[in-house]
């Protein structure tokens, strides 16, 4: 029974990963895959609509009359173009200038790379385009003919979704099969946890008391701390990044609150098991209670710090939009994410105490990979791609969109956040449950 379930889970996980890689990473030239995402399928271009400007058509191939001879391709609608496939004969394909016109009618020159693939020439264009204008020559007399052309829409978004979703599915499957196998134990843990809800609340309030013991201002520090940080950083950075001062303080504060929530929750949780050694050795308490309690403590701190945000919003004069009411949502997503990461870190740190030191270094790097003090716009696109792999990027942007910019979050924004939260929660549960029985020998 157990063996069978394990086998099924392994097969399911392999299937998920294979599907994810298949659809997510490999790019196909055939239309079969494209048809799955119909609205994003390859778009053939009717050559009669192509406009040739400044070419001499008297010979076999169109020959450029002057250095500005161009070819303009207009698409049915503005799409995120990934590449333009050209079939024909060309001289000097590498020295082309490419201009794209987006849906709003603004024309910009973009960098486009051309590669030859069998008979075809592939022009890689990463931009939203309604119209593509190509200047294929630098000198007169060059020739350029076209027998077929099509654009491939950018499929990267769809791909990364599929990849993320299948990885999450794999994690959920793996863990849920695990949980089914261990259901007796789970029921017992949950039952005792319900009995221990008072303990959790007691521990949280004890933590709060200890944190602010012997400080005159007490809990007020949760509000003052972010405010002071914000003042200092606003003074330094708002000029560097050309922000209006008010804009910067709000921008920074929202990012800081979210990031601080993560660092507090995870660093507190990391030592929670070791800190609870006295209890764990003496009574049976489900061990996940300890990281959970620390995450709740961090949540309370975070909610208090929100007062700072409210104050600054008033001072700066942020126009409240009804979407601001959605602010608990990103906090909830982040809480789940925190709990997952905390379970992993608490486990690792119980066995290897130096994880704590490594994590401190990691947090510094993590902070720079999250748009807290710098605006997202200054990132070059390759760096932005990397930053987007950082789950925190999505939570922070979500929180800002909702609170500061009054942007209604899309389904996609929600899905990404939920996927990251679930993924880390599942990994956390898995790791923690695998090792929790051994904790007692290492504390």
């Amino acid at each position: 029974m157990k063996k069978g379930l394990k086998l099924i889970s392994v097969i399911a996980v392999i299937l998920c990963v294979v599907c994810g890689v298949f659809f997510g990473l490999i790019r196909f030239n055939t239309d079969t895959i494209d048809n799955l995402f119909k609205h994003r399928a390859t778009q053939k271009i009717d050559l009669s609509t192509v406009v040739w400007t400044g070419w001499d058509f008297s010979g076999e191939q169109p020959v450029a009359m002057d250095a500005d001879a161009s070819v303009t391709i207009t698409l049915d609608e503005a799409v995120e173009v990934n590449n333009l496939l050209l079939n024909g004969s060309f001289q000097r394909l590498n020295s082309m200038k490419v201009y794209v016109t987006d849906g709003n009618g603004a024309e910009t020159e973009i960098e486009a790379k051309a590669t030859q693939k069998n008979e075809d020439y592939l022009l890689t264009i990463r931009a939203e385009a309604k119209q593509i204008r190509i200047l294929p020559v630098e000198e007169e007399g060059e020739s350029f003919s076209l027998s077929e052309a099509s654009v491939n829409p950018k499929r990267v978004h769809v791909n990364s979704y599929v990849l993320l979703v299948s990885v999450v599915a794999a994690a959920v499957l793996l863990v849920s099969i695990d949980l089914i196998v261990d259901r007796a134990e789970i029921v017992r843990e949950l039952r005792t946890t319900i009995r221990y809800r008072h303990l959790i609340l007691d521990l949280v309030s004890k933590d709060i008391k200890t944190k602010y013991r012997r400080s005159v201002l007490g809990l007020l520090w949760s509000v003052l701390n972010p405010l002071l940080m914000m003042l200092v950083l606003t003074a330094v950075f708002s000029t560097i990044f050309n922000f209006r001062t008010g804009d910067f303080s709000v921008y920074y504060l929202t990012g800081y609150l979210m990031f601080n929530f993560v660092t507090e929750a995870t660093t507190f949780s990391m030592t929670s098991i070791i800190g609870a050694a006295g209890l764990i050795k003496k009574v049976y308490i489900p061990k996940f209670v300890f990281p959970l309690e620390k995450c709740l403590f961090a949540l309370v701190n975070m909610l208090f710090s929100l007062i700072a945000a409210v104050i600054v919003f008033f001072v700066v004069g942020v126009q409240p939009h009804w979407v601001i009411l959605l602010f608990p949502l990103p906090i909830l997503y982040l809480f789940v994410f925190n709990f997952g990461v905390s379970l992993i870190l608490a486990t690792l740190n119980t066995f290897f105490r130096d994880v704590g030191y490594l994590y401190n270094v990691f947090i510094t790097i993590w902070m720079y990979l999250t748009p807290i003090i710098y605006p997202v716009e200054i990132l070059p696109s390759w760096l932005l791609q990397i930053v987007k792999l950082n789950p925190l990027y999505h939570y922070v942007q979500y929180f800002r969109n909702v609170t500061v910019y009054g942007v209604v979050p899309s389904l996609k924004d929600n899905l990404i956040c939920i996927a990251f939260s679930l993924l880390f929660l599942m990994i956390g549960i898995r790791v923690f449950r695998k090792k929790q029985d051994k904790f007692i020998f290492y504390i």
Partner: protein, 247 residues
Amino acid sequence: MKEQLAVDIEHVTMRFNMPKEKIDNIKEYFIKLLKRQIRYEEFTALSDVSLQVKSGEVVGIIGLNGSGKSTLLKIISGILKPCEGSVRTHGTISPLIELGAGFDYELTTKENIFLNGAVLGFDHAFLKEKYDEILDFAELRDFENVAIKNFSSGMVARLGFAIATLVKPDILIVDEILSVGDFLFQQKCEKRISEMMGGGTTVLIVSHSIDQIERLCNRVIWLEHGKTQMIGETRAVCEQYKQTGRS
């Protein structure tokens, strides 16, 4: 129909891996792993122990020091996980294995009652209600606002016992804790345990006092080096146990 088992221990084996040196950082771990130098000294604290306890029974566990009694109780209460075999329990458990789990020695009696109570799963309202009863039972009314670091070990044990036995559990697990208090308090504790037994609570008790075991238990299991030496009627097992010391 089979009678309801309160505790069902089946072929439980517990081994402790004792690494020869303590490794707690990654570098050392990997170096040792590469050199294949992680050596464990395996120690079998319990081997293939089985015991079925019916609801309402009082079972004594006896054996010399280090024979695995406390380990067995910890496995029953869920603090330790057995390496092999399984333990099933039915109902709520009050483990009196180490009293005063969660006591903060810097805090006062009053604060510790609430702290330890929460650790045992009681809520505030309930503890408030029982507050006087606890103080009276532990006879610590004069020390209500004294930090327990200033207590004698007997006084700490009393407080722990008073809180742990507030409610009548389905299964009570007692490990030698009665030995710390003075004889008056011991009598009081025994009385409380007897009351619980009268109320149908299943009791597992470890004690080095054969007298006590003979007085309280229906059945006794005798462990020796982690193995079941004998299991059965209180009188018969205790007689045998006493013999070993003499020969």
